[in-house]
Symmetry: C2
Subunit: 385 residues, 2 copies
């Protein structure tokens, strides 16, 4: 295996914030429109002469556009710098990699913390409820604005994978290939239940102030931290938690109190505390809502295959992880079956891993190989050097 690229100056990055004029609002599934629309994005590498090497990466719920470069708030390396970098699956020498913050997000794209032009104050709950299709529509506007007709690939894990299948349903003519990872074509009752716990935790925080906390100069940090802690448990497998922490204590002996006695408690508290520094609570509400509303079959007569009828020319790859209990193999396989039923070509690998849902973000060499292999084959088919 090639060594994982560290965030470093050799990965040339571009991007910025694309401001769409008032005459180009984002039409939303709810019937509302969002204007002005700003989309914050990062790019790595260069668009080639025939504009055939663009790859759009779609980020997950709490991800953002800082794919393979230092995060401006946390200072941490990019969340996928194991995948994007020299000699990696998405090598900027070969591909023009784009990643945009989703609509409703809090890293520069228009979201509930943005200024509502109607009031001059942050939207808060006046921000319209958005959907996965809305996120994809904004991405399509950005891709068009960047002068790209066809994406070599659209790739994403978790909520990113939902965007990938939505792209395939809504813009199949703009895709050469599509890679959906650790995802689902709809949110299950259990998925919705966990998100609802998180939302209730945020809303239970008196600092949430009915969503108008920015105006009040406060933030519902405790509620958002609890939401993150609950969600984080679903991102890892029981086996991974056991291997990493077991019942190991923080100190010698029990505290006989409510301090973090167990290492897993301390770890979870850290996950919660560090999350609130970089994420907006209302964005968490809106994006979880978009995921809960997601049911790709719904607008296609309840038949998932119908969503992919026009995507027969797109080369698909679906990757799941055996220990993912958030979007388990069966949900990923349902996408593959629907693709096959629609007459689409789909590679599928259920990767043996005990790391759980987050395996696509972690050191999982078989996953790297599968992704790299699929992309290399498609690059050859596409004639990319």
């Amino acid at each position: 295996m090639a060594p994982a690229a560290k965030t470093s100056p050799e990965i040339e990055t571009g991007g910025g914030v694309w401001r769409f004029p008032a005459g180009q609002p984002l039409r939303l599934d709810s019937g509302a429109s969002l204007s002005p629309l700003e989309v914050a994005y990062k790019t790595y590498g260069h668009l080639n002469a025939d504009k055939s090497n663009a790859v759009l990466v779609c980020h997950a719920l709490t991800g953002d556009q800082h794919l393979a470069s230092q995060h401006p708030v946390t200072g941490k390396p990019g969340w996928w710098d194991r995948v994007v970098g020299p000699s990696l699956a998405l090598d900027p020498d070969r591909y023009f990699v784009i990643c945009a913050n989703v609509v409703g997000g809090c890293m520069g794209t228009t979201g509930p913390a943005s200024i509502d032009p109607g009031t001059g104050e942050a939207y808060g709950l006046a921000f319209p409820v958005i959907t996965i299709a809305d996120m994809v529509r904004a991405q399509a506007m950005l891709v068009e604005a960047l002068g790209i007709d066809t994406l070599f690939a659209v790739i994403g894990g978790s909520m990113g994978g939902m965007q990938v299948v939505q792209w395939a349903a809504d813009y199949p003519e703009k895709l050469f290939s599509a890679v959906a990872i650790a995802t689902a074509a709809r949110h299950s009752a259990q998925n919705i239940a966990f998100h609802e716990v998180g939302r209730q935790a945020v809303m239970a925080d008196p600092n949430w102030r009915g969503g108008a906390y920015l105006k009040a100069g406060v933030r519902p940090e405790k509620g958002l931290a609890v939401a993150r802690m609950a969600a984080h448990i679903t991102y890892v497998s029981e086996a991974a938690l056991h291997r990493k922490f077991g019942r190991e204590l923080q100190r010698d002996g029990l505290s006989w109190g409510f301090d973090a006695d167990f290492q897993v408690e301390s770890y979870l508290r850290h996950q919660g505390a560090s999350f609130v520094d970089r994420f907006d609570a209302n964005s968490y509400l809106y994006i979880t809502r978009a995921m809960d509303y997601f049911d790709l079959a719904g607008p296609h007569g309840g038949v998932l295959a119908n969503a992919f009828i026009k995507a027969r020319k797109v080369k698909f790859c679906v990757l799941s992880f055996t220990s993912d209990w958030l979007y388990p193999t069966v949900e990923n396989r349902a996408i593959v079956r629907a693709l096959n039923a629609a007459g689409c070509r789909a590679s599928f690998a259920d990767i043996v891993s005990d790391k759980g849902h987050d395996a696509f973000l972690l050191d999982e060499p078989v996953f790297d190989q599968a992704l790299r292999g699929f992309l290399a084959a498609q690059a050859q088919a596409r004639g990319l050097s």
Copy 2:
């Protein structure tokens, strides 16, 4: 199958609150003592002449002594009136059934909402941290106070099952048989993680007031409701949630807001809201802590079998459910293996059910039959008519 008994006058109930004198404190694992100690309990049926028909049922985290009679707060039927009643597995005509509220609880047994004799106010966080062994020690004091030398059976599910195996380790000479259901001999990292989320949700509520909310005349209802919601997801299987709710909506169409759109959201909110009416937030902290501290092998050199060395005369039954992901089959089987390694006789059934952890509280006829069959065989061996 016999029809499930409804709570009704024909089940004769007794019980009350047993007040232990100051000279009989509860010695705690922490080194502290609790005095005075009060234990609230319910009984059903009559102790026979040779005192051989007493059954102790141990309740789960949020359960209480109101096993088969109307709950004084909620007015609901007893939580196990499918098991305790005429012609049921625990028929009061045959057995003298006892159920006591655990130490640390909030239904009459001494807990954090009780008056601290040192201050004249509710204990709050001055209440000592307790363990599963402490709960069992208090139960053993009650059983002795009731004049019972040997229990025909000790039975419990979930945290009740933890008490059952603790009884077998600490008081094997007082047991004829023991039934542990849907439980574990120790709390896993994931178990601890979910409990920590719940505790953080309670503590994040400003009305918690560092545990002194009773004095302030408030209650951390929102935080406790979030804790209950998160925990409730772990009590049911994904399949059960899907079958019961799927993605069914509350109304025609989406609200495009943060109301409960999906039935599963409404259900969870109801679980949270109704829980806070009957449960004390500090009790929730203390009892979850006791469960997290639970590791029966720990004090026995880390070898679970050693805990059961003196229990060879006890007849064991362990029952698990195939869809229980809170205390999965593998954890229950670990108890059976340890029992076997210690030379104990143990029946074990992994009951096929898609209802999840809470199956032992729900309509699951195969479970009823397994429990009934084991108890009937032991009753015959014990010479109970």
